[in-house]
Symmetry: C2
Subunit: 521 residues, 2 copies
C-alpha cells in the first residue's frame, strides 16, 4: 500500500459502504443528527472446538479512540463519494450530503461509555455504548467493531495461555512471538492485545518500543546455518553469539540435534562465559518433543552447574499444548526421580501463531446494535426481532453492575435500565436474558460488593477518561481473574457465568417484543 492508498484506506472510509448509503438516507429524511444509541457487545465466547472460553478480556479501546480522534471527511474522501455512480450513471451521493459531511463528518459529536481494557467481560453485556448523531454513529459501526473484535479475541487467548502456563501455581514468563504469522498490520494490534491479556513481552520490536516495552528475542536457526554454510560449526555460531551478547546469551539449540549437539555446545559456551564472570541466560527449544527435551536439557544444564538458566519453549504452543507439556514433565520427572517444579519454574513460553490468530476460533462475533433513538427529546428503546431468540438485543440505555458474593467472587453481571436502582431492594431478581422460566433471587445481604462496569470515556467527542497504562490494565485483569470462579476459568468446558437482566429490563424487552409481534408480524 503506498502512502496515498494508506491515507484513504485507513481514514474515515475504513468502513462499509452501506454505512454511507444509510448516512445519506438519514440525511435525506432529516434524521442525520437525530441522537441514537448503539451498544457494542459479543454474543458468545470464543469456542476453539476442543476447548471453550468461559470469559473474555476486554481490549482495543485506546486505539479506537486514537482513530476516532483523527478520522474525518477530508476533500479526498469527499471526492471519492462525489465520483460514485448510481446504476444509471448519475451521482450516488448528492452535493448537499457531501457538504454536510464536510462540516459534520467527524466523531466530535459522539459520546461513548466503555468497560475498561483489561477487564473480564461476558456475552451480551454492552462493552461499548455509543451515543451521537445517527449518521456518524452509523458510520462508526464498522471501524468500532474492527478495532475491538480482534483485540478482545487475542487478549482472551493470551489470558488462557497465561492461565495454562501458570496452572502449576507459579508465575511464568510469556512472550508473544506471532508477528510473522499475524494478519499483516494487525500484528501490532494483536501484540498489544496479547500484552494486555497475558503476554509479558513481545518480539515485535516497533510495537514494543511504541508501548514502552523492551522487545524480546534471541537468534534463529538461520544464524547457525549461515555459520555452517561458511564452514564453521554450531559451536562457533554459539561462541560468536556469546562474544557479542555475554550477558544476554540465550541459545537456540535445535538447529542440528538438540541433545547431542545443541545443549552440549551451549554448555561449552556457558562454561567459557562463567569463567569470564558472565551469567548465561539459557536455551530455547523450538522443535521436537518439547517436554522430553526440556527434562533432558534441564538435567544436562544442572549437571554442568547451570541450574538457574531458563529454557524457552516455542513451536505451535497454545493453552492445551502447554497443559500437556507440563503434565508430561511431571510424569517424566517422577519416573526419573527429578524435581518437576525445578524444571517447570525455569520455563519461558514463546507463543506465536496460535495466539495471534486465536487458533480454533479466529473471529469474535461482536456486534453493534441500535438500542434507542431520541424522539421528541425522549429516548425511545429500539428492538430487533430475530428467528434466534438469543439474537434479540437488550433494548434501551442500560447500566451494567457486577455483583460479588460473600466469598468476594463475581456472581453475575446484571443489566438494568439506566435510571433504575435495582440494588436498593432487599431481594434482587436476576432474570435469564432469554429463558422466561429461569431466574435467580439474590438477597441483598448475599451481595458484598457492587461495581458499575461502564465508565464515561467520550463526552461529545471530548476525552473525559484517564487512559490507563498497560500495567494498570494488567492489574485490573489480575484482580478480575482472582475474583472469578475456578469453574468459569476452566479452560475446557467452563462453567457458565451469569449475565442477567433486572425485572424492569426484562419487562421492557417482553413488552417491546409483544408490540413488535402485534404491529409488524
Amino acid at each position: 500500500m503506498n502512502p496515498e492508498q494508506q491515507k484513504l484506506a485507513e481514514g474515515i472510509l475504513f468502513t462499509d459502504m452501506y454505512q454511507l448509503t444509510m448516512a445519506q438516507l438519514y440525511f435525506r429524511t432529516g434524521l442525520q443528527e437525530r441522537p441514537a444509541q448503539f451498544d457494542h457487545f459479543f454474543r458468545t465466547y470464543p469456542n476453539y472446538g476442543s476447548h471453550q472460553a468461559g470469559y473474555c478480556i476486554n481490549a482495543g479501546l485506546e486505539w479506537l479512540l486514537d482513530w476516532m480522534k483523527r478520522a474525518r471527511f477530508h476533500e479526498e474522501e469527499l471526492e471519492c463519494l462525489r465520483g460514485e455512480k448510481s446504476r444509471t450513471g448519475g451521482r450516488l451521493f448528492g452535493d448537499d450530503f457531501i457538504a454536510w459531511l464536510r462540516k459534520n463528518g467527524s466523531f466530535e459529536g459522539i459520546s461513548l461509555q466503555a468497560i475498561p481494557e483489561g477487564r473480564v467481560v461476558h456475552p451480551n453485556v454492552p462493552l461499548t455504548v455509543v451515543r451521537g448523531p445517527m449518521a456518524m454513529a452509523q458510520i462508526l459501526e464498522t471501524p468500532l467493531l474492527n478495532a475491538l473484535n480482534y483485540p478482545i479475541l487475542v487478549a482472551t487467548k493470551a489470558a488462557r495461555v497465561r492461565a495454562a502456563a501458570t496452572s502449576t501455581g507459579r508465575g511464568a514468563l510469556l512472550l508473544e512471538f506471532g508477528l510473522r504469522r499475524a494478519q499483516e498490520r494487525a500484528g501490532n494490534a494483536g501484540a498489544r492485545a496479547a500484552l494486555i491479556g497475558g503476554a509479558d513481552f513481545s518480539s515485535n520490536t516497533g510495537l514494543s518500543y511504541a508501548l514502552g516495552f523492551s522487545p524480546k528475542g534471541t537468534h534463529a536457526h538461520s544464524m547457525v546455518q549461515a555459520f555452517m554454510a561458511l564452514g564453521a560449526s554450531e559451536l562457533d555460531a554459539f561462541q560468536a553469539y556469546a562474544d557479542v551478547y555475554p550477558d544476554d546469551c540465550l541459545l537456540l539449540v535445535d538447529t542440528v540435534n538438540t541433545l547431542e549437539s545443541g545443549v552440549p555446545n551451549a554448555i561449552r559456551v556457558f562454561e567459557r562465559l562463567r569463567c569470564k564472570g558472565h551469567k548465561p541466560v539459557g536455551i530455547r527449544l523450538d522443535s521436537g518433543d518439547l517436554a522430553h527435551l526440556a527434562v533432558e536439557a534441564a538435567k544436562m544444564l544442572d549437571a554442568a552447574g547451570f541450574p538457574d538458566t531458563v529454557i524457552v519453549l516455542s513451536n505451535q504452543l497454545d493453552e492445551l499444548v502447554i497443559l500437556q507439556v507440563l503434565q508430561q514433565i511431571h510424569r517424566e520427572a517422577a519416573l526419573q526421580g527429578l524435581d518437576a517444579e525445578h524444571i517447570i519454574n525455569r520455563l519461558v513460553y514463546g507463543v506465536g501463531t496460535r495466539l495471534i490468530t486465536s487458533a480454533g476460533d479466529a473471529a469474535l462475533d461482536g456486534v453493534y446494535k441500535l438500542v434507542a433513538v431520541q424522539k421528541d427529546g425522549e429516548w425511545v428503546p429500539a428492538i430487533k426481532m430475530s428467528e434466534t431468540p438469543a439474537k434479540t438485543p437488550n433494548p434501551g440505555h442500560k447500566k451494567v453492575w457486577r455483583l460479588y458474593d460473600k466469598r468476594g467472587y463475581a456472581t453475575a453481571d446484571l443489566l438494568g435500565l439506566y435510571d433504575e436502582e435495582p440494588l436498593e431492594a432487599e431481594e434482587i431478581m436476576l432474570r435469564h436474558p432469554i429463558e422466561a422460566t429461569e431466574w435467580r433471587v439474590l438477597a441483598r445481604d448475599e451481595i458484598t460488593a457492587v461495581e458499575e462496569l461502564l465508565v464515561d470515556v467520550l463526552d461529545e467527542g471530548k476525552l473525559v477518561y484517564d487512559l490507563p497504562s498497560i500495567e494498570e490494565m494488567r492489574a485490573v485483569r489480575d484482580r478480575d481473574l482472582e475474583r472469578l470462579d475456578e469453574g468459569v476459568k476452566r479452560l475446557i468446558n467452563p462453567h457458565i457465568y451469569h449475565v442477567s437482566l433486572t425485572q424492569t429490563l426484562w419487562d421492557l424487552k417482553q413488552e417491546l417484543i409483544a408490540k413488535y409481534r402485534r404491529d409488524f408480524v
Copy 2:
C-alpha cells in the same frame, strides 16, 4: 495507536527483535554485507478441518514492495536501539552497529524474484527469493512473511468460495463483506487479497477507492429498526431507501420476517419504482434458511413480475455453506417443479467473517529459509536438517518450471538449480522432494509447454517489474485455474499436485544432508 506510535510500529522495526540481535552479530563477525539468499515458501496447503486446499493463490507482493521502499532506519528507530539495555545494564547495541544501520539500514541492496500475484502456487515452491546483504536480508524475514502469509491465505479462501459459487457452471458475483470481523487494519490487506483471489467487489470503502474499485453495499437492519423505533414501519424504511436510491434499490428483507413482511414490502416498493420507470435491483437475505428463503423469495418476486432482481445471500457463508445452499435449492426447486438455474443465476454472495479470517485455518505456514551464502565469490548452498524430513528446505539458488501436459494442464512444478537445463533432455526425471523411492519420468514430448514461474522484481532495490493491475492478476488466476486438474481443484480432499525436484537438485540435497550428518551429528 497515535501517529507517533504508528510511525514506529509500522516502520522498519515492524520485525522481530532477534533479527536485530542477529544483524548486530553479523556486523561484529564481518558478515553484515555478505550476500545471502533466503527462499520464502509455504510447506502445506491450508487445512480447514472438514476440507482442504489443493492449491493456493499467491498474493501480497505489491504491498510488501511498497513497505520495503519506505522502510529504513531513521533517528527515532536508532534512538530506540541505543536505549536498549543488556541484562547487566550496559548498551545492547553498539554505536558502530548503529552507525552502520544509519548508513545501510534500508532494503536498497536487496534483489528479489517472485511468482506474480494471482498465480496458482503450491507448497515448497519458492514464491519469493531474496538476495542481499545478510543483515538486511535477515531483518526482512518477519515483515516479508507478515506481508505475504495472510494475503495468500485469504486469496486462497476467496478462490475456493468463488469455485463453490460458480460450481453450477455459471458465473457468480462475490462480494467481500468482512471488515467488521477482520483482524483490525488487516481488513485492508484481506480485502485486497480477496479481490485478487475471487471476490468481485468489497464493502470496504476506503480500500476499494484506493484500488480503483467501486465499493458495494446496501443497508443494515439498524436503518429499518430506527424507522420502527420512531413509529414508522419496515415499508416506510424501504420506501425511504427507494426514494433516495431509485436505481440502486437493494433491500434487506429480514429485519422483521422475511417472507411475511420483508419480501412483500420490498415488492410493494419495487412496484412503485417500476411505475416511475426505475428498475429495482433486488433483495438481501441475512438470516434463517438461506436456500429455502431464496427459493420462496424468488417465487414471490417472479410472481410480481421481477424475475431479474438479484438475491444477495449473506451470513457466515463459506465454500461449503455455498455448496450446500446450491444443492438445497436444486432439491427444493425440483420438488416444486421450479427452474433451479433461474434461482441460482440471480444469487449474489456476500462473504464476510469466514473469508477474511480464513475460517478453519487462520494461518499459512509460510517460512523464509537461508538457502545459500556467498563465500569467496561463490554461492554455497545452505541446509538445515530437521527431525521432520519434510521440513528440510531445498538448498541453493533455484529455478521453478511449471510443466504442462498434452491436455494443456499443469502436471508438475519442477524445482532445479538455477544453472541447469533439465528440460533439454529427452526424458525428465521428477524426484519426489522427500521420498527417495518416489519419482516419475516424463518424456520430453509429453510436455507441451514449460513456464518459468519466478520473475525478476527488484534488482538491488530497483523495481525491474511492471506491477500488474488487479484485473491482470485475475486474468492470470483464471488462466492458471483453467489449466489445473479438476481433482486438484476439488474443495474437499483434493488430489495432490506434484512439486518435484530435478535429479541434480535431489543429488545436491542428499549430498548436503550426508555431509551435515557426517560433520555435525
